[in-house]
Symmetry: C2
Subunit: 237 residues, 2 copies
């Protein structure tokens, strides 16, 4: 079972669109947006005020533009949101899934349906099917889509391997009782080097410092790999 | 009811100690530490793996030093943790509470007991009483300490005013049904100005962009004030 955002899809690939929309702000928009997007999923869960992931994505973008004092123009806003449906795949994603077609594969992606906040249930279902088809086409594979309401059937399943590059996600899946392979994309040595005694750092470095290194939550993934490409070899052993 | 950390106590006041311990890293340690500390409270609640706030404070500091490639020396570590029990008050905190002594005041602070992770229950209770006394002495006031297990009695209470400068906290209290005064310490204009088309920014600016502006969670505080000093005037009306 694969996590989607940050694992198969490169969330940093929105930066070109945000830079085009707001020259000089592309990187900081991308980082604040992603950090707040995740925070909002956690906070809304804790407050039991659940919202579709697309609503949270929109609200975290609204927050980001507000903080930066940028004009929230409807057309520009929609163009940026659109990119979130067309994130670039990591270079090794399609080949990795293709190499594992003999196994039962699933993607655990949060529901990102276009305009879901405003649309009715049929529109949302259509948008999700659209997203699913695009996802399969991109991946050149047909992994099943994991429905959130079915995930509880997986609790503690020992024959499931959850794959994520997101540390909190890897920890969450461990707490849930799954076997976990964590993709450590940013090497600790490179991370430390990027932060050496700098008064100022790029927002991307701050993002990496906050969200790419294994968390200290008393949980450890079963496997650490450096790239998706290592996965077929790992599960073959 | 006052939030403590970030509202009465200035969490940025650990920066001098972290800078002394790790020259050139004081500010980035302080920001990553605080951001992760809060994340860990949210993630542990979601995973239902609760820990004392002092354990979370230690784990988020361990994460921070690891990310920055800094040596986790036991003595240095304890010296930094100690500062968390002696945070500076905001300049207007004591006078504000003194001006409101006619009212029933409470502080909602998470339990930060020294060495609580290693100590037994009696030691922890003693450390908490110690912290409480120090807190009262600092504030020159005797606000009641709000026990987490009693907070549910406050749900929806219309005669309670929750005061916090933390946006997620203000939203959480609103979702909980309380009246809320939010202290907007960082003005939106100053925030936007600090981020103008900079490739690199100080970690403190990134912290402010993430954690001082009102969140987009579909909730609004009842009152917005700019400083604690405005509070006696607000409740008198």
């Amino acid at each position: 079972m694969f996590d989607a955002y940050g694992t198969l899809y490169d969330i940093q690939s929105v930066a070109a669109v945000t830079e085009e929309a707001f020259p000089g702000y592309g990187e900081i928009i991308t980082q604040i947006w992603r950090i707040k997007q995740l925070e909002y999923t956690w906070l809304r869960s804790l407050m039991r005020r659940y919202e579709d992931f697309s609503v949270i994505t929109r609200e975290s973008m609204a927050y980001t533009l507000k903080v930066l004092g940028l004009k929230n123009d409807a057309d520009v806003f929609e163009r940026i949101m659109e990119k979130y449906l067309h994130l670039d795949l990591y270079p090794d994603a399609a080949a990795t899934l293709a190499a594992m077609q003999g196994r039962k594969l699933a993607i655990s992606f949060q529901r990102l349906a276009r305009h879901a906040g405003r649309a009715g249930a049929p529109q949302r279902a259509r948008a999700r099917r659209h997203h699913q088809r695009r996802c399969e086409k991109n991946l050149q594979a047909q992994p099943g889509r994991l429905r959130a309401d079915r995930i509880h059937a997986w609790r503690g399943a020992r024959d499931v391997l959850f794959v994520s590059s997101n540390p909190w996600d890897a920890c969450g899946a461990k707490a849930f009782g799954l076997k976990v392979a964590w993709i450590e994309r940013v090497k600790p040595e490179a991370m430390a080097l990027a932060c050496v005694k700098n008064d100022v750092i790029p927002p991307l470095t701050m993002f990496k410092a906050l969200r790419t290194q294994m968390d200290e939550l008393g949980l450890e993934p079963d496997y650490r790999i450096r790239a998706l490409a290592e996965l077929p070899g790992l599960v073959a052993t």
